[in-house]
């Protein structure tokens, strides 16, 4: 197992290195840089002043030099300085991380809590009215983009109750209730889409397992529905579901970008978009690397969970 983890981590390093080149090059391929954006806010461009600013920010240097400088900083734990705010990137990113993580975990919790039970119920009530209802609900979840759903939720709330969640971030350490009230709807908006996917996978995996001989044997032995479905069938059907949850966690970040904007949550996902628009290279590069690390670790965790869930899977043996 240790050997397997070491191997996976080494592969992760190579992946992240490739990722760093991709994001570095992509950002430079996008038209314009921070100086264009700064002058944009002034309504004109003075080429001399622009050049002066580029020198000041170091973006006039050759690309390999800029890449080398970024890597050196990154490896020494320095995330550089935000071009936009003229502050250390770490100071900008750090307070935003808990917001995104809280929303991501709440959304994931929603998606699992809704998706798995609905998937199981749908499978054991196959082709019954409840199954159809749940399938329609899941199809609706897959069809609705989370930002659209978020906006509809806000409009419905304000229209019906003259109320919307706070538009100013409330820390859970200051007021847990207000914090949860603020995060409930965005987490639901993001989680609903993922739950729909999880439900469909759970349903199909369950249907497959429920047809297995050992399940039939369990029924024949007169076991009650609860243990058969939830203990025997679901555990064996959960491998693809776990894989999906791992992938969805990575996709969640994408969903959060718009949801954070719609619900005005000051997380890193929303800020990433701002930083891209600002061509704030240090922020974008480091945030994308952070997301890449999260995705790599999420995938590794899922793989390791396989072994725990299915004793037949062993890592590190020939």
């Amino acid at each position: 197992m240790r050997g397997y983890i070491t191997k996976r981590l080494l592969i992760a390093v190579v992946t992240l290195f490739g990722m760093s080149i991709v994001i570095f090059v992509l950002m430079r391929l996008a038209p314009g840089n921070i100086t264009d954006i700064i002058f944009e806010s002034a309504g004109y461009v003075d080429q001399e002043d622009k050049k002066r600013l580029e020198v000041e920010l170091g973006i006039d240097r050759p690309l390999p030099v800029q890449y080398g400088a970024w890597m050196r900083e990154l490896l020494s734990g320095d995330l550089g300085k935000s071009y936009h705010y003229e502050l250390p990137a770490a100071d900008i990113i750090k307070p935003r991380l808990p917001v995104t993580l809280e929303l991501a975990f709440l959304a994931l919790a929603f998606s699992i809590l809704l998706g798995v039970p609905f998937g199981v119920i749908s499978a054991i009530r196959q082709d019954k009215p409840l199954d159809y209802v749940l399938r329609v609900v899941s199809l609706a979840g897959l069809s609705m983009p989370s930002f659209w759903l978020g906006m509809i939720v806000i409009l419905l709330l304000v229209r019906s109750f003259g109320w919307i969640p706070s538009v100013q971030y409330v820390s859970p350490f200051d007021d847990l209730r207000a914090n949860l009230a603020q995060f409930f709807f965005p987490a639901l908006a993001v989680g609903y889409r993922s739950s729909a996917l999880i439900m469909r996978i759970t349903r199909s995996a369950m249907l497959e397992v429920l047809r297995e001989d050992y399940i039939r044997t369990a029924w024949a032995k007169g076991q009650r529905e609860g243990p058969v479905v939830w203990r025997h069938a679901l555990k064996n059907a959960s491998l693809p579901v776990i894989t999906l949850i791992g992938i969805e966690f990575a996709f969640l970040i994408g969903g959060l970008i718009v949801t954070e904007t719609v619900f005005n949550l000051p997380g890193v996902a929303r800020y990433l978009i701002d930083a891209i628009q600002w061509r704030d290279y240090p922020i974008v590069q480091n945030l994308v690397m952070l997301i890449a690390v999260i995705v790599v670790l999420a995938n590794l965790t899922v793989d390791l969970l396989y072994a725990w869930l299915d004793p037949r899977i062993k890592y590190g043996r020939p």
Partner: protein, 570 residues
């Protein structure tokens, strides 16, 4: 000239004492040197001006209540921190104004801005000398910067030398969008700690308008200019408490403010909400007290009204116009006839209805009445290309194009560029459709918004749908910036010697009665030359909660953000 100043100052002082305490009586005549006077921050009752839909705050409420935090809408984070002098966007001016003071400002209670509505601020009075060649400003005593340093004439000289990029300026701005406003200033003299003199190359009464704009705060000489991108040290009614990047900007009352009893509010919090739908849902749900200038379009206002939200609406002009820019340096728009045909083809009134659902008004290059002071009258507008009968205009456009060699067999093909933002695209699409009706085949090119100005600055466009906000409703502030030869914001490169002479002449004209027709002539000429055909002037419905008092939105988004007089009745 300078030798005579002490005598003049004495005369001014005597005149000022005799003149009485009314506020906003600056610039009453233009035929002789005048002494100006004031009483600090005691607003005279203002008349409710035209355009109010429901303006409970049009007249100042006396005896405001102290306390409370105003929750203000903000659409984006600060681009250049609080460095107002380095930006040309309302997104910086609006939340920056409460921190600063100007030398003079526009009367917060008057919606229409003009020389008549300029009132004293850090300069308690002023005087024009030598036939409007020297502007003498007498500064208030006892004013302190937020860090406790006394405010003096040195700060004024420092600020405006920096903005006009004087050779001996102490510092230089990283970006300087309004340098041209002060091109006529020859030098600035700090005569004593409380007197500052602007020496002009030629008479220019509009200088006061420029000094009154929200874009003209006085900076402290002892604080490095770069610091303003992260903090704010002003003399204004509010001190910066916290700028939580991307979340909010919070100000607290300045306890040492130089106006006794002001401000009323304990503070202001500008909540940054990037999504427009969320911004207005928050306003509707009572999570915000006031809107953001220029944001409440007619469809939004209609929706808010129909929802039954407890909000008051004030219909105001924004001093922001939609215009067509054509690259005059390149064919086919180097031909004035072709430009004129394009201008003729677009029905301005249909534009206001279709693109803004009636939330815009037709007007030439100065904001139209009743919102603006200099706009052409309706009867005059009717004679300009694009304002008369649409069928006649289009027929004339086709004829002109035919004369220029374009017709059904050889249609004029152009590329219309604009920002990839819905409202710009709507604007461009409308124009493209109008042009199609006169046989012009225009294709739309959407440009990422950040690339728009770089692109037009490099003149890498043929034709564009553009938006221009004017810091002041004044011909000098507009013409020199957008139509003068060589101006960096003259994106079309329109340059006409005759027009330049006309601009210079009106700028020096001291008699308002004579200046108005000159300005009208320029507007007619610009539209006839299709220098930058104006499609319409946007309006705003500025919604705010009924408990917000003494906030009178002006017909210009840039100049009413000081919040000194605002209070909350709750």
């Amino acid at each position: 000239m300078r030798v005579r100043l002490p005598v003049a100052l004495l005369c001014v002082a005597v005149a000022a004492v005799a003149a009485g305490p009314a506020l906003g009586q600056a610039q009453k005549g233009a035929d002789s040197d005048k002494a100006m006077k004031s009483v600090p921050a005691k607003p005279a009752a203002a008349k409710a001006t035209a355009g109010s839909v429901n303006a409970p705050s049009a007249a100042p409420h006396p005896n405001g209540k102290k306390g409370g935090v105003l929750l203000a809408m903000h659409r984006e984070d600060l681009a250049q921190g609080f460095s107002i002098h380095e930006t040309a966007t309302i997104a910086t001016v609006w939340p920056g104004m409460p921190c600063f003071n100007n030398l003079v400002m526009f009367d917060p209670f008057k919606q229409v801005e003009s020389l008549d509505s300029v009132v004293p601020e850090l300069a308690e009075r002023w005087s024009w000398q030598d036939n409007y060649r020297n502007l003498v400003l007498f500064l208030r005593k006892g004013v302190k910067w937020h860090d406790g340093t006394p405010f003096t004439a040195k700060d004024v000289k420092y600020t405006f030398d920096m903005v006009r990029q004087a050779p001996d300026a102490q510092t230089r701005l990283r970006i300087n969008p309004r340098k041209d406003w002060y091109a006529n200033v020859e030098s600035i003299e700090a005569a004593d700690p409380h007197t500052v003199i602007f020496h002009l190359k030629r008479p220019q009464p509009s200088l006061l308008m420029m000094l009154a704009s929200g874009y003209s705060p006085v900076y402290p000489a002892h604080v490095p200019v770069n610091d303003f991108r992260g903090k704010c040290v002003g003399t204004g009614p509010y001190k910066l408490k916290e700028w939580k990047k991307g979340e909010y900007i919070e100000f607290a009352r300045n306890p040492d403010y130089w106006v006794p009893g002001r401000p009323y509010l304990d503070g202001i919090r500008y909540l940054i909400i990037k999504e427009r739908g969320t911004r207005f849902a928050a306003l509707q749900a009572g999570r915000l007290d006031i809107s953001f200038p220029g944001e409440a379009t007619k469809p939004i206002a209609d929706q808010l009204k129909s929802s039954g939200a407890k909000l008051n609406f004030t219909l105001i002009g924004t001093n922001v116009n939609d215009n067509l820019i054509m690259n005059i340096k390149k064919p086919p728009f180097d031909n004035v006839k072709v430009r004129r045909a394009i201008s003729l083809a677009v029905d301005r009134r249909a534009y206001a209805k279709a693109v803004h659902q009636g939330g815009a008004v037709a007007g030439a290059s100065m904001q139209p009445k009743p919102y603006g002071f200099w706009g052409l009258l309706e009867k005059d507008l009717g004679r300009l290309p694009g304002y008369g009968k649409p069928e006649d205009n289009k027929a004339q456009a086709r004829k002109i194009l035919a004369e220029a060699g374009y017709g059904p067999g050889k249609p004029l093909q152009v590329e219309m560029g604009t920002r990839a933002i819905a409202l710009y695209v709507d604007f461009a699409s409308f124009v493209i459709n109008e042009l199609k009706q006169v046989g012009v085949e225009a294709t739309l090119k959407q440009v990422e918004t950040a690339q728009w100005h770089p692109l037009v600055t490099r003149r890498e466009y043929q034709m564009g749908a553009n938006l221009t906000g004017l810091g002041i409703d004044d011909p000098d502030g507009n013409f020199y910036e957008n139509y003068a030869c060589g101006s960096p914001r003259n994106y079309t490169d329109y340059c006409d010697e005759q027009v330049m002479k006309m601009i210079e002449t009106q700028s020096q004209e001291l008699d308002l009665k004579k200046r108005r027709p000159l300005v009208a002539q320029i507007q007619n000429k610009l539209e006839e030359d299709a220098a930058r055909p104006i499609m319409g002037w946007r309006t705003d419905y500025f919604p705010m909660a009924p408990h917000v008092k003494n906030l009178v939105p002006h017909h210009n988004i840039y100049n009413y953000g000081r919040m000194q007089e605002v209070w909350l009745d709750k």
